[in-house]
Amino acid sequence: MYRISKEKLNDLYAKINETSGLYIPVKRAGEVNYAVWGEGKEVSLETLKTVKSPKSMFFPQTENMMKFKTDGKNIEVIDVREQFDERRPFVLFGVKACDYKAIEVLDKVFLGDPVDSYYKMRRETTTIVTLACSRPEESCFCKVFDVDATAPQGDVTTWLDAEYLYWQANTEKGEALTALVQELLEEGGETEVATQQAQTKAVIERLPFSNLDLSRFTPENLNALFNEKEWEEMSEACLGCGTCTFVCPTCQCFDIRDFKTNEGVIRYRCWDSCMYSDFTLMAHGNSRTTQMQRFRQRFMHKLVYYPSQYDGTYSCVGCGRCVNKCPQNLNIVKVIKTLGGKNND
């Protein structure tokens, strides 16, 4: 295990930036979001929850898929993936345990068959540096999904305390990155990290949502859950905005759209939200006409459909962003408490 004093962090970022792009929590206009690092940017590793999750590293909110160049009546198709080779490798820095777990959730979708080449390319050329939590808050419930906030995985795991950032490589990619920044690192930190982990774990035990009961969310209960009358009441205040889906680290729905340029057309994809009224709009009409149906879809997907498809893994990681950000204070915790199982009372 290595450590680096907090004063030297900027040097660390600069060093990484020499060979790779660095995607890191940055404060802009008061809010902390992942952004490409540059000299003078205000990095905020201490922030527990960035507004948007780091998923945009691999699955950006908008991404060009191909281009069509028109000349008179002729059309030429341009595969933008050919430009991928020229792209710099990236280091994604400061990923919390829940968000790292979320990347695993996305991997199952995008790297499973059929492989999403766009996602795969970004994923392969990125080294992930995670950061353990030291001060979780009341909206956190990652423990429910078996996430250890004090020991996130990733290519490199780091811990932060008042003076140092502690560093431990986990993978080959992690070793390579360690080698690159070796000159800035010094040995040590096992004790400090262990102490911090113990303290944090104690806090996590006391968190109000740490012991939610998910036992009813099984494939067998799908129909029963789907037909619960509580959906109506739970969703009645839902505005149908996309806040929960856009701050969610595991939401993966996208839409594909065209943009007309002077020279042709750009076909791009962008995040979509199942909360939006036209999410399921098709040529024949709309299969979900009420907000209740959309609301139900989102949580059924997170808690029932996804696990049924991917060996019981839930598509929620307990990051609590939706708990904090829903304009009307609706969230997955309220759904779990209402429908999840007896032990929630």
Partner: protein, 325 residues
């Protein structure tokens, strides 16, 4: 606040029991002391979860568009600022006034839990307000915050009074204050074009196009929003370009100009805390300055500034020449 809450609960019970109303639109308790949600209560039993506390900042009026269409009368608790939105919706024929029973309730400003957390308070267990002190009990201990620092932005400069009521539950009158709601707008106006551009670029670049501002906005009551309508030529689901970040907010502000009551919900719900109310307030300030003071939602009748005119209206070029004021 507890006293007011008890009175409200009493009235809600009585109205439901007597059958005078078929339902009551109010707030229900959340998991914490700071996360109530808007709710519809249709029976006395359901009122178990009724709550009215310092965190009931949500404007309930927009829900009435759908709810008031249901059979029977709907009772609703409206804070002063909410009544303007309600009136505006009645004016635009979105709510049938006859089908709603409005109970005006006191407000005294609502708290913003994000602002409290930003002050370093976390693991909040309970909150009590005494005058300008907010006493917070947390898992880590007790703290006292200065209330004006932690109220919702929309409450900071509010001087609104109830514009619609069938009855009222007001135990404490909010004192009239000397506040200038345009102070922030004026600050921006005083900047150079470049500075203003930089300010808004910085702010709007955060926009994730979640549509929370639009969906919560009582003035955004379109059946289908232009931004959701592929036929409109400007629809989009994400900000693929800085232009789109601007476009969405410019068009939205223009569409609600003259109709926006300044309820401030847009800023309250923005997950990125973009001061969206400063966009709408610019229109309000310009309208006041150029065409005479106008407060949307004061009445349920009459034209809005953008659907009326006078022959001597200021010329667009004179707006910049400063001859307009």
């Amino acid at each position: 606040m507890k006293e007011v809450e008890m009175k409200m609960l009493e009235r809600a019970k009585a109205l439901l029991e007597s059958g005078e109303v078929a339902r009551v639109v109010a707030w229900k308790k959340g998991d914490f002391c700071f996360d109530p949600s808007p709710a519809v209560f249709e029976s006395v039993e359901e009122l178990d979860t009724f709550v009215y506390d310092w965190f009931c900042g949500a404007n309930l009026s927009k829900y009435l568009i759908q709810i008031a269409k249901k059979e029977g009368k709907t009772a609703v608790f409206l804070k002063p600022c909410d009544t303007y939105s309600f009136n505006q919706l009645v004016k635009e024929h979105r709510i049938d006034r006859e089908k709603v029973y409005v109970i005006a309730v006191e407000c005294l400003a609502k708290l913003d839990v994000e602002k409290m957390k930003a002050k370093g308070v976390s693991m909040i267990e309970s909150v009590e307000v005494v005058d300008k002190d907010v006493h917070v009990k947390t898992a880590y201990g007790e703290e006292t915050l200065y209330k004006p620092d932690v109220v919702l932005t929309k409450c900071e400069t509010c001087n609104k009074t109830h514009q619609a009521k069938d009855e009222e539950i007001i135990l404490h009158e909010r004192p009239e204050r000397d506040v200038n709601r345009f102070a922030e707008v004026e600050k921006l106006e005083a900047m150079t074009e470049d500075e203003r551009f930089a300010f808004w670029r910085n702010q709007l670049s955060k926009c994730i196009r979640c549509n929370a501002c639009r969906n919560v906005c009582p003035a955004c009551s379109c059946v289908k929003c232009v931004f959701d309508n592929p036929a409109s030529g400007i629809s989009a689901k994400a900000n693929d370009d800085q232009f789109e970040e601007q476009l969405f907010h410019i068009i939205r502000a223009f569409h609600v100009a003259g109709r926006c009551t300044d309820c401030g919900e847009c800023s309250r719900v923005c997950p990125q805390n973009i001061p969206l109310h400063l966009l709408n307030r610019k229109f309000i300030k310009d309208i006041d300055g150029l065409y005479g003071e106008f407060q949307a939602g004061e009445t349920t009748e009459g034209k809005t500034p953008l659907t009326s005119f006078t022959e001597g209206d200021v010329e667009p070029k004179d707006v910049f020449n400063g001859e307009a004021k």
